[in-house]
């Protein structure tokens, strides 16, 4: 018997509204529809009414977790338009902020992943480890998230050298804990049984769906914008791109744990090498033209396209967040799974709906089916009626119908 399980719009699986319609046979998923667009606000259009400086604050609010991502990406795009090179110190500051954000975003995902499979202890412990990193963010920039540090041409405020030792201390305190977490993930048999072989996205599917970020790297696709299209201070630093071949949730988990360790490595070098000097390049005017910025967000490659017509306001801003490309891969990874596994498979992409929906709403991915709210209610009513028919005596049926 086929039935349809709606997940969302409001569901504890995600903090954000979204809707998945799972068509299930028993407990096995045979089809999935993704409905997003509940929180579409029209940020791209809004950007056309704001000046470049204001737009930085606007794109910061595309997504709270990737606040540095979108701002740096937008600044990259405008600087590409201007063909300017920003001061060295600004580059290092952007790198430091970006890597701090990567650590906190990955830890956040790991905790949530633990929560989704009912392992609340993992959730609490990873989020406890995440707190010092947020404290560092506050200590360095003044706010836990959305710090408003970026500006076209550099950074708005300087990071004081005197504050870096505290950062290094936090990192060295964190590193053994992350290593312990990595070992725990590899050793825990129950966790392994629950994650291994679940929601496999093969390399071919990964290339076909053009997925990016940890999702692609866990499937054996070797891409990383930090290396492929270097920005900020990454060319001066020594680090590795983590690539695993499993494609399942377990690999995605492991990629993220190892990336946190890489991020710690990058941060240490950046703090050591950061030069003194200017941190902001004065931008007088922005000529007509167009620019493309790329950034490796915690979730994957982020692209901004900016077109200027010589005025104070951007003529067009196009944002492609990583989740926009990653979400369609659900179709490949979810079908044939158990319902209990679907939640963690969906979560494994680390989908970020605020990013995706600044302009888009997708409906009916498979192309032929679409259920409105009313249809769904109808279907679920029919199902309950059927169940009650099987359970109840025939004489009670008219009474039951009244309630339906």
């Amino acid at each position: 018997m086929r039935s349809i399980i709606p997940i969302g719009p409001f569901h504890p699986l995600q903090d954000e509204p979204e809707n998945f319609l799972l068509t299930v046979e028993g407990e096995t998923v045979v089809d999935i529809d993704v409905n997003i667009g509940y929180i579409h606000k029209g940020i791209e259009l809004l950007a056309q009414q704001k000046t470049y400086d204001q737009t930085v604050f606007l794109v910061e609010r595309i997504c709270g977790i990737c606040s540095i991502t979108h701002t740096v990406c937008f600044c990259n795009a405008v600087e590409d338009l201007l063909k300017v090179e920003i001061p060295e110190r600004a580059k290092y500051i952007r790198t430091i902020l970006g890597e701090i954000e990567r650590i906190h975003s990955h830890l956040l995902w790991m905790g949530l992943a633990g929560h989704f499979i009912g392992y609340n202890t993992v959730f609490m412990w990873t989020w406890k480890y995440r707190e010092p990193i947020l404290d560092m963010m506050e200590y360095l920039t003044g706010n836990r998230q959305s710090c408003g540090m970026l500006k076209v041409g550099g950074v708005r405020r300087n990071l004081e050298d005197s504050r870096f030792p505290a950062l290094l201390k936090t990192l060295s305190e964190m590193e053994p804990k992350i290593k312990m977490l990595a070992e725990a993930v590899q050793d825990d048999p129950v966790l392994k049984a629950r994650l291994e072989g679940v929601g496999v996205l093969t390399k071919k599917d990964a290339i076909d769906y053009c997925v990016v970020g940890p999702t692609a790297r866990a499937s054996g696709v070797d891409i990383d914008v930090r290396r492929d299209d270097p920005y900020a201070a990454y060319p001066y630093l020594d680090w590795n791109v983590i690539v695993l071949n499993g494609g399942d949730v377990y690999s995605k988990f492991l990629v993220r744990v190892l990336e946190v360790l890489e991020a710690i490595k990058i941060l240490r070098q950046a703090v050591k090498q950061i030069p003194k000097g200017d941190f902001l390049l004065e931008i007088k005017e922005i000529p007509p033209g167009e620019g493309i910025g790329r950034y490796e967000a915690p979730r994957g490659e982020d692209i901004h396209y900016v077109r200027s017509n010589g005025t104070n306001f951007p003529e067009r801003l196009k944002v492609r967040a990583p989740s926009f490309i990653n979400i369609p891969s659900f179709t490949a990874s979810c079908i044939g799974q158990q319902i209990a596994d679907v939640t963690i498979t969906l979560a494994a992409v680390d989908p970020c709906y605020s990013c995706t929906e600044r302009m888009i709403s997708a409906r009916d991915l498979s192309g032929n089916k679409k259920y409105s709210q009313k249809d769904l209610l109808e279907i679920s009513h029919q199902k309950t009626l059927e169940i009650s028919r099987n359970l109840a005596r025939p004489a009670d049926l008219p009474k039951l119908k009244k309630y339906l």
């Binding site: 369609p328 302009m359 192309g367």
Partner: protein, 172 residues
């Protein structure tokens, strides 16, 4: 592969004219006529193994410009193919048959700009599903947000805080 080499290969493989504008070492823009869109997509995506990133649609004076961004990850540059659909006939060939990943973005551009994509399997409205009219496209220059918000009852009524009448007893 440098951008110059890429242009040479592209010239040798394609049989139609195109106009190259090199922005910097990492960015190159190619302008083509809309009839040749499918051919160039086959050359770049299928034969040269680029990754399709995204397409952006812009409303300019001459019509609707659609830019397809292809990234060459190993060679560290982005090639942007731009093409124009004029005002009176806003139609382009759909690339979905060549690039499956373009499904969502073509629907988005159709939705916000009103550009038709010929041959798209499932060209439907997306974001403005319920509350925007068939002929209202928010990203066109003639779209008036203020008027739209007033029409749909979305405009926040500006109301100043009413001063509370203070009943102060004057001491006699």
């Amino acid at each position: 592969m440098k951008i110059q080499e890429f242009i040479e290969i592209l010239k040798s493989k394609s049989k139609f004219p195109f106009e190259v504008q090199q922005h910097s070492e990492k960015r190159v823009y190619i302008r083509i006529a809309r009839e040749n869109l499918k051919d160039i997509a086959i050359v770049i995506f299928k034969e040269m193994n680029a990754k399709f990133s995204i397409a952006s649609g812009v409303h300019i004076r001459e019509g609707f410009e659609v830019l397809y961004h292809f990234t060459f990850d190993k060679d560290k540059f982005i090639c942007t193919v731009r093409t124009l659909a004029p005002h009176d006939d806003p139609k382009l060939d759909s690339l979905v048959s060549i690039i499956p990943g373009a499904t969502w973005i073509e629907r988005e551009i159709y939705d916000i700009l009103g550009v038709q994509f010929l041959g798209h399997p499932n060209l439907k409205r997306l974001v403005k599903a319920e509350f925007l009219g068939e002929k209202e496209f928010p990203f066109r220059k003639d779209f008036n947000i203020k008027k739209f918000k007033e029409d749909h009852g979305l405009a926040p009524k500006i109301s100043f805080i009413q001063p509370v009448e203070q009943t102060v007893k004057k001491s006699k």
